[in-house]
Symmetry: D2
Subunit: 285 residues, 4 copies
Amino acid sequence: MTSSITVPSTHGLRCVARSQWAEYARPGSTRPVTIGSVRVGAGQTVMIAGPCTVESREQTLEIAGAVQQAGAAILRGGAYKPRTSPYAFQGLGEAALEILAEARRATGLPFVTEVMDPRLVETVGRVADALQIGSRSMQNFPLLREVGRLGKPVLLKRGFGNTVHEWLHAAEYIAAEGNLDIVLCERGIRTFADGPYARSTLDLAAIRAVREQTFLPVIVDPSHAAGRAELVPALAAAALAAGAQGLLVEVVAHAADRETARCDGPQGVLPADLAQMVRTARALR
Amino acid sequence: MTSSITVPSTHGLRCVARSQWAEYARPGSTRPVTIGSVRVGAGQTVMIAGPCTVESREQTLEIAGAVQQAGAAILRGGAYKPRTSPYAFQGLGEAALEILAEARRATGLPFVTEVMDPRLVETVGRVADALQIGSRSMQNFPLLREVGRLGKPVLLKRGFGNTVHEWLHAAEYIAAEGNLDIVLCERGIRTFADGPYARSTLDLAAIRAVREQTFLPVIVDPSHAAGRAELVPALAAAALAAGAQGLLVEVVAHAADRETARCDGPQGVLPADLAQMVRTARALR
Amino acid sequence: MTSSITVPSTHGLRCVARSQWAEYARPGSTRPVTIGSVRVGAGQTVMIAGPCTVESREQTLEIAGAVQQAGAAILRGGAYKPRTSPYAFQGLGEAALEILAEARRATGLPFVTEVMDPRLVETVGRVADALQIGSRSMQNFPLLREVGRLGKPVLLKRGFGNTVHEWLHAAEYIAAEGNLDIVLCERGIRTFADGPYARSTLDLAAIRAVREQTFLPVIVDPSHAAGRAELVPALAAAALAAGAQGLLVEVVAHAADRETARCDGPQGVLPADLAQMVRTARALR
Amino acid sequence: MTSSITVPSTHGLRCVARSQWAEYARPGSTRPVTIGSVRVGAGQTVMIAGPCTVESREQTLEIAGAVQQAGAAILRGGAYKPRTSPYAFQGLGEAALEILAEARRATGLPFVTEVMDPRLVETVGRVADALQIGSRSMQNFPLLREVGRLGKPVLLKRGFGNTVHEWLHAAEYIAAEGNLDIVLCERGIRTFADGPYARSTLDLAAIRAVREQTFLPVIVDPSHAAGRAELVPALAAAALAAGAQGLLVEVVAHAADRETARCDGPQGVLPADLAQMVRTARALR
C-alpha cells in the first residue's frame, strides 16, 4: 500500500513463501489444506474442537457427538500429551487413537492429534487425518522432517517462545520434504503479562504477518492462550476478526469436568459455548 | 461461571472496583463517561480519531473534517508530544490547543489531547474536552492526581511495560481525587515478538480482565500497537470483537503524509480506511 | 575488536554520546560524577546504601550509621515514594529530607533521594546531594528537563519496560539542559520469567552496551531486581563482574524489619551483608 | 535466612529435589557429575569450550588444542545442529563424532555434543562423554527419556522460552529414568530487550533459584546469550559471580573465522580470551 511498509523478508523461505508462487501472488490468497473432506483456508471458518485429552471412550464419544452437533468440522483430542512433569498423565497413546477413530466413525468428523516422537509418526499417521505439532515441538527438526515425509496434513502450532520468522521456517522444514499441507496455528506467546488473567498473550498481529509471507492457512487456538473457559469466546472472536481462518478449541462435556479433567480442564468450553462460537464465526464472515 | 475462576483480586481497589458498586454489579455493565456530548461505554462503539500530532492549522482542519465525515465521534490530536529524543518535534503546545478548538468548532467534535506535565493540566483542561494520560505517564502519580482534581474526563492509556493490576491502580489514583470519568485504553505491551511486524503486542485478554474488575469503559489504540497502517484495521476489528467499547485511531489525510509526518506517520490510516472501520464496528455490534 | 560488531548506532545522541567527545574516546573511559565528595566512575566501586524509605528519624539514623560503618560511600533513602496504590504509604516528604540531612551530618555521607514531581525538584534539590529519577519516571520528560536545569547530579534508573536506546535518550534530555552529571542505574526489566524467584530480570548485557555508547558511569540496583534479600549479594557480585561501577542497595537494620517495613521490606539486606558486599566489591576490582 | 522467603515449591519434583535427599540438605551443596574424568560441581569452575560446529578435522583439532592450552577441561562441538532453516548447514553428523573422538585422543579432553533425535541417542552416546540437550529440545520429552535411559551424563540447556519450573521438571524426566548425572545450563531467555545489543537476556537469578531447589550443578553459556564475542567475557564473569559452577563457551581459532564460520561465528571468542576467562574464573573462586 505504501512504500514504507517493512515486513520481515521472505529471504530463506522457499517452498512456503508467497512470493515464490505465482498462483498465490494475490495478497491474502490461501492454498487450502484438506483434512478428511474438510478444506481449511477455503473461505469457510473451520472449527476444530474436542477434548484436551482422550481420557476414556465414553468421554471422547460424548464430546465428539456434542462438538459435531455444535457445528465443528474437525475433531481434536490428545493421545500423546506433552506434560511439564513426567508424573502427570501422559495420555492413553495407541488406545486413544482407536477411540478417536471410533469417534470419527460415529460422527463423520476427521480428527487431528498431536505427535511428539518421530518414531511414532507412522503409527499416528496410519489413523489420524492430520498430525499436530505442538508448541513445544515447533523446533523439533527431526520430527518436522518426519511429518513432512509422511505426507499427511500437519497442524503446526507456534512455539510460545518463538518468532514468526522461526515459525515459518519450521513450516519450511515440513515443506522441504515435499509436504505443503500445513495449517499454521497461533496459540499465544510468553510475556510479562502472563499469569494473572491469561496464560499466554495471543499475538494476533502475527496472523497478518504470516498471511503476508505465506499462502498457508492460519488458525488460532484461543484455549491455551486463555487458560480459563470464560475468556475463550472473546479471544476466539478477536482471532477471527483479525483474520484467522479457523479455531482450535478445547471442549468439556460438563462444567464439572473442568475440575476433574486430567489435563487443562479449566479452559474447556461447553458444547453450548462452542455452538455460540460457531454462530459468531458465521456472523463475522 | 465456574468456581475455578481465578482473576486478580480487586483487593486494594476502592473507587473503581466493580465489587464496590451495587449499580455496576451486573457483569460487563459500564458506567459511561461523557466527553463533550459523546457517551463512551453506553453501548455504541466510539471512534476517536485524528492526527498523531497537530502539525499545522490546515493539516488538522483537513483531518478533523475527514474523520467527522468518516463517522468518528471524538477528535484526537497531540499538542504536547512525549518523544524519545529531546531533539524530536515536541508538538506545538498551546498553539495546537487553539487549532484543536477551532477544529472542534468546525466539526462539532469534542477533542482529547495528551498532557504530560502536572503544571500544564489546568492549561490543557481549559480547552480540551478530555485529557489523555499517555503510556509513558501511566505511573506518573503527581500527574494522575492533578487530572483527578481537575475533574475533566481522562483517557488513561496502559503503560507498555505495566500490568493490568498497575493500570487499574493508576485509575484509582485519579478516582481517589473524586474523578470517576476515566476511559481505559489498551495500546499494546512490550514482548520478544515486537519489532519485525508489529510495534507492540496488543493484549486483548486484558480487556476482559479489566471489565471483570471495573465498570470503567475500555477502548483500544490499534495504531501504536501496529506501527504500520495496513495492520490497523485487522487489530481494530480484533479489539472490538474482544469487547473494546471504542477505538483510538491515528489518521493521515493522504498516503504521502506517512512519509512526511513529524511523528508516527507510518501508522496513520486514511479517512477511507477509517470509514470502513466505522462500518465494521457497526457490523460487529 | 572485529568488524562484525553491530551495536545500536549513537545516531540521535549528542551530549552523552562517547563518539562526540575526544576525551572519552578510549573504550570504557568514564567521566566521573561527583556526589558530595564522592566520585562515581573514577575507578573505585561506589556503594550507595540505605533504607528503601525514610520511615522515622530513629530508623534512618540507625541505618545510616550502619551503612557508613559497612563501607558505603553514599546514603540513599526515599522521601517521596512512587507507589502502585494511592492508599500505600507515600513517604514522609519534606520531613524525610530533613531527616536525611541530619543523617548526612551524623555520618558525613552525601545522600541521594528520588523526586517524581517537577514542581518539587527545587525543594529536593536544595537539600539532596543527588536526585534520583525512578524507573517509572524514566520517560517523564518534563521532570528530566527540570533536573537537567537544576544542575545537581542525577541518578537515572532504567525503566523496567524501556530499552537501552530509550534510556540513553532520557539521559540526553537531562544533558541537553546542560547537566552532564548523570549516573545510569540498571534495575531489571520485565520478562516472562519474573515472579516466581525474582521480581525483575537484571539485564547485565546492558552495562556493556551503555558503556560502549556513553561515558556516563553505570551502576546497578540488585535490590529491586531480586525482590528478596538472599538473592541480592549474588546479583550484586554479578553486576560488578559485568562492569557496574557501583551498586544501589536497600538495607534494613534488623531482619525483623523486613516484615514491618512500610515499603519493600523483603529485599533489604542487613548491614553485615552490606559489609560483605563491600569486601566482595574490593576483591572483584 | 528469614521466614519471608518464598521460592517456587519443589512440589512435583522427586528425584532432583534437594529436599528429597538428606545428603544434599546443606544449602548450595552439589552432587558432582563426572564427564570423562572431570567433575562438574565439585568446587572447581569447569570450562567447557570448543567450536560451535565441527566444520572440518583441521578446524576442530586446532581449536581443541587451543582450548586445552587455554585451560578448558571439556571440549564441546556440534555434530548435529538445530538450525532455524532447513537449508542452513546441519552439521557433519557421524563424521563429526569421529573428529571429536580424534580431538579427544589428541588433547585428553572429554567431549560433549548435542543430540536432537531420540533415534540417534545411542549412536551419539557410543562416542560422546556427555550428551547435550539444546535449548529448543528442553521439552522434547521422548528425547529426555532416551538420554535418561542411556545413563551417560547430560548437559541440559534451559529453553529460551521456558521457566525455571519447567527446566527442573525437564531434568526430572531424565532423572526419572534413573539418570541423575545432569548438568543444568542457563543460556538466556527471550525478552523485549533482545536484539540490539545482545541476543538473549541472561537470567542469572535463575542460578540461585535452581541451586535452592536442586543439587544438580549449574553452568552458564554466555556465548548464545551474547551473540557477539566482545560481550562474552563480561557475561561469563557475571555468571560465575552469580554462582555458576562452570561455563560453556564457543571458540574460534582466528578472528577472521567469525565471518566464515558456518554457524554462530560472531560469538566465538579467541583462545587468548578463553585463557583470560580461565584466569578470571580462578580469581573469582
